[in-house]
Symmetry: C2
Subunit: 193 residues, 2 copies
DNA sequence: CGTCTCATGTAAGGAGTTACATGATTTA
DNA sequence: TAAATCATGTAACTCCTTACATGAGACG
């Protein structure tokens, strides 16, 4: 259900086509929420059916057409309700930690490789998220700048602050995961001298 | 696909029925991986069909019957392969952080409540996970003790160490989430004086 | 003229949730 | 004997993944 609100969030800034949204999910917003095109296009149609979006056919080139969606009042209201509503926390279900509990079954070398991969995975994410923070601080974030253009100056600080807060949480998580995996590597070394 | 290996992990310790496994997922193991009965029973049948488990009808009371599953050689081999194989990391998809990025749309009070709920959610998890660590350290973990009974003494330390390592990662994550939400509360206070 | 990007889909299947359904056994 | 626990399912639905499919426009 979050996909719906991720789409509303992006379309609140400006009208876009499914493809525009798909690209956003591949890059910027995709570092917080990812969705493939095969999920985006049907969801946009459902959202229009439910009255949250209004689509408009616009010409593209001489023969081409594309469908641009903008958020309706009902859509803005639904989004506002979502941000104000407590969401349910899913039950725990983490493949990495599940496997970590049974690493005594693994070859030491395989255990090391997987912990190393964990470090690399979160290392790459960390760089991306840190870069987002730098963009926010430097005022070079395209998406944020477009969003800021639609709100009064007095609210700019607030809008930017929550974006920064989000990426701070993600970088802290990444750092924690890296630290944990490093402790895991040390543990493997100590158990298999 | 992880459900399959969570089930194998539990059945590696001793044969169990679907209901036994369901209870484990409701309590102990459930703090790392949860699954409802409606997912467990069909998966057990699929695993038997695939030769990873062997089920056996055992009488229960006078008229009742239950099906007890034990892991086959193929099942143990599949589990060993799983722990040795690098798993794919899913793309980022986190409803909490997605929403955090748009908290400027929320009422300050609603924002506070949701951050508070985040603290309470991870606070409760933290206690559960810390308790698991204490059980491991104190030798009072039922599941771990049964598992240790099946391996040579020299491996005991190793088996326990990885269980502890898992819960250390989860507690560190919980503490990080709590710290993040606390910063969020301070941020809301500073933005809406 | 070929390749990359833009643009929009369908189809099959896996994983998980929620709700519904049934009956035996044990225990207070 | 009523309630809790043990035991095992089905059915409908949502969400997501992977793969397949097609065609126009832009650029070099």
């Amino acid at each position: 259900m979050s996909l719906r609100y991720a789409l509303l969030a992006l379309l609140n800034v400006e009208p876009m086509t499914g493809y525009d949204l798909y690209k956003q999910f591949e890059s910027s917003v995709g570092y917080v929420w990812h969705a493939p095109d095969s999920q985006i296009y049907p969801e946009l149609r459902r959202m229009e059916r439910d009255g949250l979006l209004q689509g408009e056919e616009v010409p593209w080139g001489t023969k081409g057409r594309k469908r641009q969606y903008h958020v309706t009042d009902a859509g803005r209201e639904a989004f506002r309700t979502w941000v104000n509503t407590q969401l349910d926390y899913p039950r725990e279900r983490d493949p990495i930690h599940l496997k970590a509990a049974y690493l005594e079954w693994a070859e030491p070398e395989a255990a090391r490789q997987q912990l190393q991969a964990h470090i690399e995975h979160y290392g790459a994410r960390l760089l991306q998220w840190q870069q987002k923070i730098e963009e926010i601080d430097g005022g070079t974030s395209d998406m944020l700048n477009r969003r800021l253009a639609t709100v009064p100056d007095v609210d700019h600080q607030r809008v930017a602050a929550f974006k920064r807060f989000t990426y701070e949480g993600l970088t802290a998580r990444a750092e924690q995961e890296i630290a944990w995996a490093r402790r895991g590597l040390a543990l493997v070394d100590s158990l298999y001298p």
